[in-house]
Amino acid sequence: MLYARLIIMRLFKAVIVLFLIVILNFLLIQLAPGDPAAILAGEAGAADQEFLNQLRERFGLDQPMYVQLWRYVSGIAMLDFGYSYRLGVPVFDLIMARLPATLLLTGTAFLISLVLGIIAGSMAAARVKKPSGSIIMALALVFYATPLFWVALMSVLVFSVYLDWLPAYGFYTVGAGYTGFALILDVAKHLILPATTLALFFMAIYTRMTRTSMLDAAQQDYVKTARAKGLKPSIIQRRHVLRNALLPIITLAGLQAGQMVGGAILTETVFAWPGIGRLMFEALQQRDYNLLLGIFFFSAALVIVFNIITDLVYRLADPRIKGAS
């Protein structure tokens, strides 16, 4: 019951935030030089004023700004995201077509980074004064400091060009006509490089975070008690230390999950991954306002959903927190 009320409250707040984001972004994007009509005309390599006027009228860009804003916001209220100016396809369809790819990529990267990060972090915590622990931490720091796009480039160079182990780009092998299991395998092969490069940075963060909070937790009284009771160190590590150390990690994971969409812009560009990060960058370059706003709406919605999920998971993991925050 309590959860239900909490979720409803959070959702209500989320809707308000989403509307504010839509309005802010709408106003922001209008400030960018050039409009979609001029860009479409420009691509055509020839345009007269009549052509531009036709396009602007068609897109409703000849209306005053407040009319455009009102139309857009009232559309969103009815869950109508409008049409992409450039592609002439409903924005909702475009996003839905691209969202799975992004979720697959970021989801995989998220899992890789979380699992490997926690493992590496707890290993480092267990070897706090040993060289092996220092090496893990040094590696984590290096991953943390490496530009994402640079790793992406270097990994394409090494694994696709020189070693020829993995495909360098794309979602699946077009034209191969795979189905069923072969298709899954094919997609998985394409997924390895982008997901790993995207995961490295966050993995480094989780490693450091896990180590710190585990060392932290190891100092707590109940751990000392457990040790005094003579429990095996490995059991203490797993049952008492790691479980408590997970709480701050969950918070961080919620934050990172939302930011992954942003990070995916670079990964998707280098690996030609047909996700919404790339779609967003293209929409921005094309001044495809409707599409861009739609993507912002969805990624902000994702962030909010992740925040709520994080809250719930946090509550499940830590029975001490009860009631409203």
Partner: protein, 277 residues
């Protein structure tokens, strides 16, 4: 123990400091060692490293000296990192201070505002801002600052909340000091340590952000930055690995050094805190 002794106890921090000093030296010495513009086309394009005297890192797609670009780039990267962090602090510190000091409704409003900014993916927002303002050093600095102030505001707010009821603050209030004076004179100096630590990490993140923007072609075309060098070399990565390799290493080392120094500062400035962690 002195500040530096505590800092130097962390061997990583010492290494970081040395690297950072070398990079700063690079930035300062660049105009002396390579007085010519790094944009100048001086040799045959695609000269590999060490193949010709005067071009230890080779030449790029248009015969420009990579070593000169790397040295001049150090200046640009550090400058963008420092300035954008300063701007972010200028936004984040007052907001956090006001929210944390006054609490209540003001805190609520300011924190909703901060949350709001955090709901839009950072990098996406930075890209949009640069596209709107059109790429230049100013617009890049502003964009980076605008997406990186929320953590500052949150940190400062938390510090202020824990400090605002301390005895010395109460005492200052009793002797009739104004809120502004209390904020600036009493509390702010006591929050500097964590701010400095955070700032050193933010400089690192800003350098990464700038390089990512330049990589996507949203850099300032009038300055030779490391991010630009990688972005420009991306298309020729297979013919000329060195063009993207060296600036990549430079970014890595700088960001690494800043992080190490940040950790060292954390140890040195917050001895109790870092032990607790």
């Amino acid at each position: 123990m002195s500040f530096f002794a505590r800092f130097a106890q962390n061997r990583g921090a010492l290494v970081g400091l040395i690297i950072l000093l070398m990079i700063i030296a690079m930035a300062i010495l660049a105009p002396l060692l390579f007085p010519e513009s790094p944009w100048r086309m001086v040799q045959r394009p695609f000269l590999p490293p060490l193949s010709q005297e005067g071009f230890p890192l080779g030449t790029d797609t248009m015969g420009r000296n990579v070593a000169a670009g790397l040295m001049h780039g150090a200046w640009v990267s550090l400058l963008i990192g420092l300035v954008s962090t300063s701007v972010a602090l200028l936004i984040g510190v007052p907001l956090g201070a006001i929210a944390g000091y006054y609490g209540g409704l003001i805190d609520d409003i300011l924190m909703r505002f901060t949350e709001f900014f955090q709901t839009i993916p950072n990098f996406a927002l930075a890209i949009v801002l640069v596209a709107i303002m059109q790429p230049s050093v100013t617009s890049i600095v502003l964009a980076i600052a605008l997406v990186s102030w929320p953590p500052v505001a949150r940190l400062v707010r938390a510090e202020f909340m824990s400090l605002r009821n301390r005895e010395y603050v109460e005492a200052a209030r009793l002797v009739g000091q104004t809120n502004t004076t209390i904020i600036l004179r009493q509390i702010l100096p006591n929050t500097l340590s964590p701010i400095i630590v955070l700032a050193s990490l933010m400089v690192a993140t800003a350098i990464l952000l700038e390089s990512s923007l330049s990589f996507l072609g949203l850099g300032d075309p009038n300055v030779m930055s490391w991010g630009y060098m990688i972005g420009a070399a991306r298309t020729v990565i297979r013919q000329a690995w060195w063009l993207s390799f060296f600036p990549g290493v430079a970014i890595l080392l700088t960001v690494l050094a800043l992080n190490l120094v940040g950790e060292g500062l954390d140890d040195a400035l917050n001895p109790k805190l870092s032990r607790e962690r």
